[in-house]
Amino acid sequence: MIQKGKARTFPNHPNDINTDYIISGRYKFKIQDPNELATHVMEDLDPNFFKRVEKGDFIVAGNNFGCGSSREQAPMAIKYANISAVIANSFARIFYRNCFNLGLPAIEADTSGIEEGDELELDMDAGILKNKTKNKEIKIAPVPKTMQTLLADGGLVEHFKKHDGFKV
């Protein structure tokens, strides 16, 4: 499957985007509706972020995306903001795992040449990220087999129901 969307970047803060920035503690503790949580996604880094995202867009970042707390509300807020995948040079471990548990792809790739608004096409099967705007092809890091399984099943809840436990 090929996913298409625009790159949404944080040029002033490409690295170490932590889960507090993705969804602040002041929201995640009191809001249970994921659609409402999503309206506050990335708010402390960019108050207009939710408004500028269009369905299918990608979050594109540098190193150590999602560091900090284990809050699953972070990938949840991203997913419910209609982001189709997060693409970064590297991810923090708990966030990375939470993404696949929710069926949200977290893709490792060299993002250094991607700018805000670039038109991207992600082909996970071929392992290629196309930057249509810059006319460039970027190879993505292979998605680990366990994560592919979770993604194919539609996340951990569906995986668990389908196999009556873990089958990784």
Partner: protein, 417 residues
């Protein structure tokens, strides 16, 4: 081939000869959730069509992050947690019991050699008592509660050896801040930290918790230490369960070994807005401070408050400055009252809040104003962490916080010792 502590614990719990890079499905000894993550875990539990948890005696939920509830939204989450715990016969630690990462070892829920997960990133804290404990998300917790198991990628291990003796005024907090500054916020991503050395041997178990607690701040999966006599005595005092201490093999394979001379350090500060933005206190001495905070799962233990009380005894928090303290558990609060540290700190001007996370996570108990500087013993100083993205958080040891609130500006604690 020899094994690290992490490889051995994951082997023991999966029945596999597990080495770094392997994927294993392992039996869990204990698991926890807190009020910020358990609501989602309960939702996932229901979505998985589960009726019962595998073993309620291996689960605890702790209401600590936003407790007592500051608003209707949080109250709804707390209610949901209380009902779930009652329905599943799970041990619930309600408001005022304390922070999950103090409660879990203190109430004897984990012992050396255990494998523990928690829906909170600082679950790595119990590494100090030789437990492989790691933070996971809410849906992983739900899967763990239903099946008693979780899948793990066996991590490579980065070994850190602290040589030398800690100088006066330098504490475990300074050691871990220094390490995070050295290797960076992603310096140990996907890896286990194994922490050892003379400086560790010398310090109390409480002081060691501070170091393991912050392993996640350099991306590590756990921050594990050996179980020496101090650990075994501590565990015997807190738990009835039989410990199964694990040592690394002499020929264990490490990704890297870092040696640090503890004797050469000065008090450390993490400047806003990242934990790896560290420096020696001398670089920021004199920075005005409007709020100090002593507490959290990092530094909210008896010893931390005793250190602060010794510095603040007979002195006052400076005009224009506030000091908030939050004992990490009710037991610690009672010990502080017996010991006199509680009275000393309150007399000096400290405001004591409910045992729990206090203002650390920005939901209640002391949200700073725009432009204010806070010096805190917590583990994170991210922008907005304490509830206001326009404030600035400096992280330090309890001694440095105590010295700083006396002066109303960042101060070197060594002159008060």
């Amino acid at each position: 081939m020899g094994k690290t502590i992490a490889e051995k614990i994951l082997s023991n719990h999966s029945g596999k000869d597990a080495h770094a890079g392997d994927i294993v499905i392992a039996d869990l000894d204990f698991m926890i959730g807190q009020d910020g993550t358990s609501g989602v875990a309960i939702d996932s539990f229901r979505k998985m069509s589960a009726k019962k948890v595998a073993d309620p005696s291996k689960i605890a939920i702790i209401i600590d992050h936003s407790s007592p509830s500051p608003n209707q939204g949080v109250s709804a989450i707390h209610k949901k947690i209380r009902e779930f715990a009652a329905e599943q016969k799970i041990k619930l630690y309600d408001i005022g019991c304390g922070v999950c990462h103090q409660i879990t070892p203190e109430q004897g829920h984990c012992v050396p050699g255990d494998l523990v997960i928690g829906a909170d990133s600082h679950t790595c804290t119990y590494g100090a008592i030789n437990v492989f404990s790691t933070g996971i998300g809410s849906t992983d917790l739900a899967a763990g509660m239903i099946s008693g198991k979780l899948w793990f990628k066996v991590p490579e291990t980065l070994k850190v050896v602290y040589k030398g003796k800690l100088p006066k005024g330098i504490y475990s907090k300074d050691l871990i801040l220094n390490l995070i500054g050295k290797i960076g916020a992603d310096g140990a991503t996907y890896m286990a930290l194994e922490i050892d050395g003379d400086a560790i041997n010398e310090m109390s178990v409480d002081a060691r918790f501070t170091i393991s607690n912050m392993a996640i701040e350099c991306g590590a999966k756990c921050g594990i230490m050996k179980a020496d006599k101090k650990v075994m005595d501590w565990v015997a005092k807190h738990s009835k369960r039989k410990p199964g201490p694990i040592e690394a093999d002499k020929d264990a394979k490490y990704k890297q070994v870092i040696e640090i001379d503890a004797a050469k350090l000065e008090p450390q500060i993490a400047k806003p807005h990242t934990v790896d933005n560290t420096c020696g206190v001398s670089e920021v001495v004199g920075t005005p401070i409007q709020q100090g905070f002593i507490g959290t799962c990092t530094n909210g233990r008896l010893e931390d408050f005793q250190i602060a009380a010794n510095i603040l005894k007979g002195k006052k928090v400076a005009d224009g400055c506030r000091l908030i303290i939050a004992p990490a558990s009710k037991d610690i609060m009672l010990d502080m009252i017996k010991d006199g540290a509680y009275q000393t700190l309150v007399e000096a001007g400290a405001v004591a809040v409910t045992p729990g996370c206090g203002p650390c996570v920005g939901t209640h108990n002391g949200v700073p104003s725009d432009g204010e500087n806070v010096i805190s013993t917590a583990n994170r100083n991210f922008k907005g962490r304490m509830g206001n993205p326009n404030s600035f958080i400096y992280l330090a040891s309890p001694a440095t916080v105590a010295a700083s609130v006396i002066e109303g500006k960042i101060a070197d604690p060594r002159k008060y010792l």
